[in-house]
Symmetry: C2
Subunit: 211 residues, 2 copies
Amino acid sequence: MKHIAESTVRRLSLYLRFLEEFEAQGQTTISSGELALSGGTTSAQVRKDLSFFGSFGKRGLGYGVRDLIGSIRQILGLHRSWSVVIIGAGKIGAALAQYRGFTQRGFNVVGVYDKDPVRVGATLDGVTVRPDSELERDIQRLKPQIAVLCVPGEAAQPLVDRVTKAGIRAVLNFAPAQLHVPKGVTLRAVNMATELEILAFGLSHPEERAS
Amino acid sequence: MKHIAESTVRRLSLYLRFLEEFEAQGQTTISSGELALSGGTTSAQVRKDLSFFGSFGKRGLGYGVRDLIGSIRQILGLHRSWSVVIIGAGKIGAALAQYRGFTQRGFNVVGVYDKDPVRVGATLDGVTVRPDSELERDIQRLKPQIAVLCVPGEAAQPLVDRVTKAGIRAVLNFAPAQLHVPKGVTLRAVNMATELEILAFGLSHPEERAS
DNA sequence: GGTAGCTTGTGAATGATTTCACAAGCCCCT
DNA sequence: AGGGGCTTGTGAAATCATTCACAAGCTACC
């Protein structure tokens, strides 16, 4: 299979959300144009995105909403469930641990960890915060695939090293630090300050549109 | 000025972070190659990114760390401060209201709003949660430029309509909903579930690398 | 069964972004 | 003062992503 652009994967995730809404409203069939409209893209883009993975529609008719939901879930790897550990039980870590959107989509939070004894023992939406010294043992036992990092910047790299060594295959980093991971591990970063800075740039340069 | 790609702006924000670290360590000068190394990009990319905005280095020498910090801050619009309102004082809204990274970079949280009377009146890091009915009045009085939306998906669009009408020029959306804004308003969205789904795609297709 | 009216799937064309590669310029040392 | 060793800034080339445009195919209806 050819290399797939991140922008394509991001849009597929978006399409999936809309399709679920359309299904909830009882719509059984949808055209690429309709889907494009909700997602703010073009019908050609929708069809091209899907075409990387196969052929899911019927010419003249469009796509079956239910079928396409199934196909995209399969493409994104959501036909199975994934186990996630959250590292850092501060404000953001705690918020994510209790975020419904994860469970809804098959991401199960199997552990929340913190270094600070004050936070250890608290219960967040049914999961108890455990000391970070248990991380390695728990990763080997529960085999989570994904780690979400919500710790201060300086603590992030040592923790990534530990969890990747213990078997984590993907990391979502909310810590304000540039992380390095071994080959074969996928890394994504979300930086709140950067997002605001991109907005500030847009506000400072109204003649252009870096949106 | 030509149109600037979002990827360029995002990298500039990243460079700024590294430069601040280098400055804290007392380094006064830096080459594009060194900067590229910390940011996981290439020296040509660094130079090209900067070249859109002018010429900031000295051939043979590199860039003055302090000067380049100033120049990038100017480019991104961080030479001034920006006022931000946070809408929704749930878990994520509260976490963001107390996030140090914003203030550090000149983003001042001037108000936090919620619909729920139970949350109104609470104090988050010096800012009191106010009822969302005050939004319009406060926006006209305090003239914030940026709104950060942390409300349930279905509440998001009506709130965006209200705050853009009241004068907000940029919106950072954490709500799981596709928003529409009037022309001239900049919109960015961060969707936690999508980020995890991109990771899941990567895990499901190890032969490629949509990172 | 044939035609009209849609909509998909996809090569080709366009547009955007990244990488290459090198002339120009600066500092240091002799 | 001149040469060597770096490093920038930037057109040109290459790569990557999006948009165009149209043949192929399906349904409905007469």
